[in-house]
Symmetry: C2
Subunit: 408 residues, 2 copies
């Protein structure tokens, strides 16, 4: 009899967005005639792909329909036109030494963040922030690195609380961590690690011989000077960190699918038979279990690095960040304690009067017809918070803020 | 110190296509003035995407550039417009009961064939054909199911020889297999399993409680009536088989990326706590580690099911299959013993005079300037064979056949 992966049975139901959808449907059914329900819940972009991107897609589509220019399988790791643009624009222009052949193009950050576990043995101790993007945890549960669920936590994970008290910057653990997931700017808290905060972690990883998996999908939203855009701005990070990025939140590619992961050649694991190159392992994993991002998506990604593409991307991000600034101002005026939203498209709000996350969710749905994400869905330390996204149309956000102001 | 997956060290170097490329480069460098080198090696399509497909891509691109129609993250498992078209056209039209919600759209068959291992525990006994598409083996090595490499085989795999003697139809193993990979029409042998041959395997899996992973990426090339297009044409297969398919070889999507995997709801694994649904596990795996195929690719895939799209696809496949028929005729005339090419775009040739696969490769490169794939790269039973692909322009194939005729 064949046997399934036993660790799946330890996964907790992934009910957060399903439960949100269920409560919204129920509310709609019982309140069919009210004003529009406005979602500030799911972190999905709402602006269109920009003209330079769609122009590149039309051109690439024409190429695929023409015998002289049709493209089949893409080279392992992505087309060099894209890996070289990424290395030049996202790294070398910031004096970070990352070579094009250390960049692996993929169909998105979520795939890479999930699949990277293929490279790691089951007996690593994994540290995650709390609250956290659930993919880090669930993919480690599947990989056998999380241990048993005790009702609130997985036994073998090290949880790093991120709270107002520590400015949402995780503190170094007292026990040894082999693998550390960091996300900055952060989903869900909307906060970002400063240079010195991130340096602590790189230094820790170097001394402990740990691996940092650094998720910088929201890098483009950074506004403050002291916040690194890449972990490789920290000296020595090339030897301890993998960086995962996406065009989804930078250029609105959530429906197009393109991201990339940097695995520096200097990153090795000390093993019995000698040092093992993570670059080689990831290269082999990807060439075995992946056939590359599509040509259209890669051409579209390249277009974001043209002068016009860069400007359009900046404009889109400015739009979302103006939303965030307006939301933060209005919500503070309304009496909320607000975090984030200054270097990220998310705001993290303490619920008023000690309400639970779900109570606050229900109140905002019932009384404001505004949908948010309960912070408790991101981990125990998310309880008592809600997450709001700035990925919405300006007018809708203005309406939502006005409704919330009247409530408070 | 963090630890890498120890099973990667058991992977054998994946040198087949790299070695082919190296020998071709070396030959070119020493013979700079000769006639064009013609590749019948890599199994990548050469015809363009068809007008109905590129038309859909242009339209979808315009939608993504328009505020009223832009799409973000796609629903888990794919857009229903596509899963319903797949269920209707590829299954229900053949009286196969597969529902749209049993279809999971992805970025391609290779990803699914690699990632499906996430669902399986490390102690399953895995059976693979020999010769075989290397992804089945390498992904199981990474997952710890293959055991140690003994120089020619992995200790824990069950190899199913596919030879001229058994008509390249693998025989049931004498020992119990938990997981069985089958590919029909087959890469690399170009042969296909008949209804009765496949039924043997479904019956075996039912009695042994095994799981069949059925790769039917080349389904569209079937010409004979007694060859099933889907494993679900066999009674009871819904309870024991996952089927993986791709638009790559059907509609030339190798550079676009779209495929799908069918996991029937009836497919369960008997486990301690009760039956476990593979559908649930795959759904959870995909929603955790994957964010869907791109909207453009899914619209493009849908276009292959329009009347015009269906006709264009048939025309492309006819073109390749006419190539295959011509190759088979010419190569037989030239004295080769040929297999396959009648229900698949690959021909499998016995090398003349007992030459090794690589000797024959070298001879065809040096004397005909034709590149093929040495059969030994697909497993021990591929030794003494070469694989030729029909995915090439007609004129080039004619030239290649003429050169080979003159050699023999």
């Amino acid at each position: 009899m064949f046997k399934v992966n036993p660790y799946f049975s330890q996964l907790q139901p992934s009910y957060l967005f399903a439960e949100i959808a269920r409560r919204v449907r129920q509310y709609e059914a019982t309140h069919p005639d009210g004003a529009e329900i406005i979602s500030l819940g799911i972190g999905d972009v709402t602006l269109t792909l920009t003209p330079s991107v769609t122009g590149a897609m039309h051109q690439a589509t024409d190429e695929m329909g023409c015998a002289d220019s049709v493209r089949g399988y893409c080279p392992d790791g992505g087309y060099t036109f894209l890996t070289e643009a990424i290395a030049a624009h996202d790294y070398q222009s910031r004096n970070i030494s990352i070579h094009a052949d250390e960049v692996f193009v993929s169909d998105g950050a979520k795939s890479d963040l999930g699949n990277i576990g293929d490279l790691l043995s089951a007996d690593n101790r994994v540290a995650v922030c709390d609250p956290v993007y659930p993919v880090y945890i669930d993919s480690n549960v599947m990989g056998g690195r999380a241990g048993r669920w005790d009702g609130t936590h997985y036994a073998n994970l090290i949880y790093l609380p991120c709270t107002p008290e520590n400015g949402f910057a995780p503190q170094l653990p007292t026990e040894h961590a082999d693998i550390i997931y960091l996300c900055s700017p952060n989903n869900p808290t909307g906060t970002a690690l400063t240079y010195s905060q991130l340096k602590q972690w790189v230094d820790y990883a170097r001394s402990e011989e740990s691996l940092i998996i650094f998720d910088s999908a929201y890098m483009a939203y950074i506004r403050q000077d002291d916040i690194p855009h890449s972990i490789y701005e920290i000296e020595g990070a090339r030897e301890v960190a993998i960086e995962v990025r996406s065009f989804s939140k930078t250029a609105g590619f959530t429906g197009l699918r393109c991201g990339y992961t940097v695995v520096p050649r200097a990153l090795t694991c000390r093993a019995e038979g000698g040092p093992v190159s993570l670059h080689s392992l990831w290269s082999r994993r990807q060439s075995t279990k992946f056939n590359g991002a599509g040509y259209i998506a890669q051409r579209a990604a390249l277009a974001t690095y043209t002068p016009q593409g860069i400007q359009e991307t900046l404009d889109s991000i400015d739009y979302y960040m103006s939303n965030a600034a307006m939301m933060r101002r209005r919500l503070c005026e309304a009496g909320f304690t607000c975090y984030g939203g200054e270097n990220a498209p998310y705001l993290w709000l303490r619920t008023p009067d000690g309400q639970s996350s779900w109570s606050c969710f229900d109140r905002l749905l019932n009384e404001c017809r505004v949908v948010v994400t309960p912070g408790s869905g991101f981990g125990p330390n998310g309880e008592g918070f809600i997450r709001l996204t700035a990925f919405q149309k300006r007018e809708k956000i203005q309406t939502a803020m006005e409704r919330i102001r009247q409530l408070m």
